[in-house]
């Protein structure tokens, strides 16, 4: 299970490690549920390269798609970002709060 989790995280960081893919996510944040055609127009990009970027975002579960008739709509899926937040950001916030607590205790001359 740990290796599975790691592989999933690798895909997220790889997907985010590219400016075009970050712009694609920004575009979906602004207007969720866009078609490939709409995204290409906003990016000024050919369908083929946009498709490749979207595939990597989908593999990382950062984008999910829903079919509506002949169209495929793309939705941003921020859930994996929250998983990363929980691991890489939240615990440092806790640590910072503990440091503040210790500092306060020291300045006030109380027990730690």
């Amino acid at each position: 299970m740990e290796t599975q989790k790691q592989a999933a995280e690798d895909l997220v960081f790889k997907a985010l490690g590219d400016p075009t893919r970050r712009v694609l996510l920004d575009l979906l944040c602004e207007n969720n549920g866009q078609t490939l055609g709409q995204l290409c127009e906003n990016l000024n990009m050919k369908r083929q390269s946009a498709t490749q970027h979207l595939e990597l975002l989908e593999a990382a579960n950062l984008v999910t798609t829903v079919r509506r008739g002949r169209e495929k709509l793309h939705f941003i899926n921020p859930v994996p970002l929250h998983d990363i937040y929980a691991r890489w950001v939240r615990k440092f916030e806790t640590q910072r709060l503990n440091l503040l607590h210790d500092l306060k205790a020291e300045l006030e001359g109380g027990e730690k």
């Binding site: 299970m1 599975q4 969720n32 549920g33 829903v66 939705f75 899926n77 859930v79 929250h82 998983d83």
Partner: protein, 154 residues
């Protein structure tokens, strides 16, 4: 009057079983451990359901009806702020789909028929990722996040 609507679709992969995921959504004793809320209903089609915050005041925050149930794979509910319950236009719809995927499950939450620019649309777009991330953590590690607001100062 037809409202202009928007929708969100969230997906998370969880190393668990469809039965456990379905139970975590529908059983109050489980939901309160990672959601900070309970979803209270008898989960039959047409029944009411309530989303109750797990704190001392236990306010009912969201209300709606059960529209479809096919445990443990599918649940569709209507969704409105408790103060808006009398206004049919305020109702949006949430669909939970739980499918087996490799060694675990793929959980998809689609929230549609949300009014564009409404407070509810803004609120749920921030809320769902946090809830699903906490659910994943709860089922995989036994610990979710504290979303009840009980320990704000912590």
């Amino acid at each position: 009057m037809t409202k202009q609507t928007t929708r969100f679709v969230y997906v998370t992969y969880i190393a668990s079983t469809p039965e456990k995921v379905f139970a975590a959504i529908t059983q109050p004793a489980l939901a309160r451990q990672y959601w900070g809320h309970e979803n209270v209903s008898d989960w039959t089609v047409g029944a009411d359901w309530q989303h109750v915050r797990d704190n001392d005041a236990r306010p009912v925050e969201i209300v709606g009806k059960v529209l479809e149930v096919s445990a443990p794979h599918r649940l569709v509910i209507s969704w409105a702020g408790a103060s808006q319950a009398a206004n049919p236009d305020s109702y949006s719809r949430v669909t939970f789909e739980v499918e087996p995927h490799e060694n675990g499950v793929r959980l998809t939450v689609s929230h549609d028929e949300l009014e564009v620019g409404s407070g509810m649309a803004a609120g749920v777009s921030k809320g769902w990722p946090l809830v699903l991330s906490s659910l994943k953590s709860y089922l995989e590690t036994g610990t979710g996040f504290d979303l009840s607001g009980r320990n704000k100062a912590a």
